[in-house]
């Protein structure tokens, strides 16, 4: 297996954001993590890739890189597309002297072709649309041939057609890289098109685990409320969010 999370706990002050969460994601598998805003979905991704420290529990990942595609792409705005994608190849200690300039150029071109953006090497992030920025961030994430890819709301803020395009690339990247993928999302279309399994979080706890088809059966009150977007159900918005 590529990613295994065991009894993970994360607190911010007195607030327990992740409360004893456990799940596994195998190679060539995509797990969707869904839930309300503030339910701890993005925190799980940050814990897995080591951006924030956990309070307790275990995160076991197989050898190799973990890549992350950020919600707002997080492209380096002072660098052009080619330099964004080749950033790790040029700056990382273990990769710095591994590739020649010609090889780096070829890798960048190949990754851009994979995400359908051939020939935009010299453009800057500010010259790209939201969907294109997302795809460039996909290319940057897979440049180190990672074993696991984490997507933080990859389709948020995009129009339905761009969302479908991004979802297709998530599936394509899984097939091309054989990576274990975790997709944090709110969108049903993303869940249905990309996920093999779904985990639903509420108040930092897992309240549902199953396939996207199981989610639609509506025999779980949490998934039923989520799918029907109802205000009535076991999940209550806090006073602050109303």
């Amino acid at each position: 297996m590529s990613i295994e999370v065991k009894n993970l706990v994360k607190k911010f002050g007195d607030n327990t954001v992740i409360d004893n969460v456990s799940f596994k994601v195998n190679d060539k598998e995509t797990l969707a993590i869904v839930g309300f805003s503030g339910s701890g979905k993005s925190t799980i991704l940050k814990l897995i890739c080591g951006l924030i420290p956990k309070d307790s529990g275990e995160i076991i990942t197989s050898k190799g890189d973990i890549a992350m595609v950020f919600q707002y792409s997080a492209l380096f705005d002072s660098l052009d597309v080619a330099d964004n994608i080749s950033f790790a190849l040029r700056e990382r200690k273990d990769l710095k002297k591994k590739y020649t300039e010609k090889q780096i150029k070829d890798i960048v071109a190949q990754k851009l072709e994979l995400v359908g953006l051939k020939g935009i090497e010299r453009l800057y992030p500010s010259e790209l649309s939201g969907g294109m920025q997302k795809r460039v961030s996909f290319a940057r994430a897979i440049v180190t041939e990672p074993n696991s890819i984490l997507y933080d709301e990859p389709t948020s803020g995009l129009d339905p057609i761009s969302s479908t395009l991004i979802e297709n690339y998530i599936v394509r990247l899984k097939e091309e890289t054989n990576a274990a993928s975790i997709v944090v999302t709110h969108q049903m279309s993303t869940i249905q098109r990309t996920a093999d399994r779904v985990v639903m979080l509420y108040n930092g706890k897992i309240v549902f685990e199953g396939t996207p088809e199981d989610m639609l059966k509506q025999d779980n009150p949490y998934t039923k409320q989520f799918v029907t977007a109802s205000l009535e159900g076991p999940m209550k918005m806090t006073e602050r969010e109303k």
């Binding site: 940050k46 890739c49 080591g50 951006l51 890189d65 973990i66 890549a67 992350m68 950020f70 919600q71 707002y72 997080a74 492209l75 380096f76 705005d77 950033f87 790790a88 700056e91 990382r92 940057r140 180190t144």
Partner: protein, 267 residues
């Protein structure tokens, strides 16, 4: 007990205590982070990205030069215009060049350059790195397994260390010349008398202490600005707060450095 505690928490004494303890905590926290980042920079200072270093040197030196020279030149004009005529009247005209040169080389050039660089470069470094923080670019650097402190801080701190002495030398030259022109215009002091006096009062020690100060000022401004930006949080407001903090801390830090140098070398 609960009611007493409630009233105590509403009292001015408690609010004052809470406010002061927060300021103290923030001071210690910021100082600790700047020191930690400074040590981190020293550990990876040999990992130089020359392309980035040249870019930062250009930003630090060339971009800041016009405003720095304007400030130092105008300060010299202000001082010379107020002092020159009085000194000539009192029979001390032959000391004007000496006084102006010592003042400019030891203090005005380096400290005014420092202030100009803080306002122009320090604030821009802090807001640039703070924006990278709030837009998750720094997180992206970490996920790509690149050390963000080495990647972002080293070229900026080095550029401060390298460029600040150059800026100071040019500013000092402009300041001394501005003093000569002003003395001539306001007090009728000849250029020859001004520069003879200037050479008489100026020692090599004045120059190298000033350059050493510039090295410390440049490094400190860059380190503080990068550090304040690096720990920004919370969107546009966070970027603004980080920039303000960087400017205030840099101003205070270079005045403290200046005092340490004055005591260490001229006391």
């Amino acid at each position: 007990m609960g009611i007493l505690q409630k009233y105590y928490r509403q009292s001015a004494t408690y609010k004052l205590y809470k406010g002061l303890s927060e300021i103290f905590y923030d001071f210690v926290d910021t100082l600790g982070k700047i020191t930690e980042n400074g040590l981190h920079v020293l550990r990876c200072i040999y990992k130089i990205d020359y392309k980035e270093l040249i870019e930062q040197c250009s930003r630090f030196g060339v971009s800041s030069l016009p405003i720095t020279l304007t400030i130092v030149g105008m300060t010299s004009v202000i001082v010379a215009s107020q002092v020159a005529l009085e000194m000539v009247k009192q029979g001390g005209g032959h000391f004007i060049g000496m006084m102006m040169t010592i003042l400019i080389v030891r203090e005005v050039a380096v400290i005014m350059s420092g202030f100009a660089i803080i306002s122009m470069i320090g604030s821009s470094l802090a807001s640039e790195i703070a924006t990278m923080r709030v837009t998750e670019q720094i997180d992206a650097i970490k996920v790509l397994k690149v050390d963000p402190i080495c990647h972002l801080f080293v070229p900026r701190v080095l550029s401060g260390i390298i460029m600040m002495p150059f800026v100071t030398i040019i500013a000092a030259a402009v300041g001394v010349i501005a003093g000569a022109v002003t003395s001539d215009l306001f007090a009728g002091l000849s250029y020859r008398a001004y520069f003879d006096s200037a050479w008489l009062g100026l020692y090599m020690k004045d120059l190298w202490v000033s350059l050493l100060k510039a090295v410390f000022f440049g490094g400190t401004i860059a380190l503080i600005s990068c550090s304040c930006g690096y720990y920004a949080s919370g969107g546009a407001k966070g970027v603004g707060l980080a920039t303000t903090k960087a400017v205030v801390w840099s101003f205070v830090a270079i005045v403290i450095w200046d005092m340490i140098f004055a005591i260490a070398f001229f006391f």
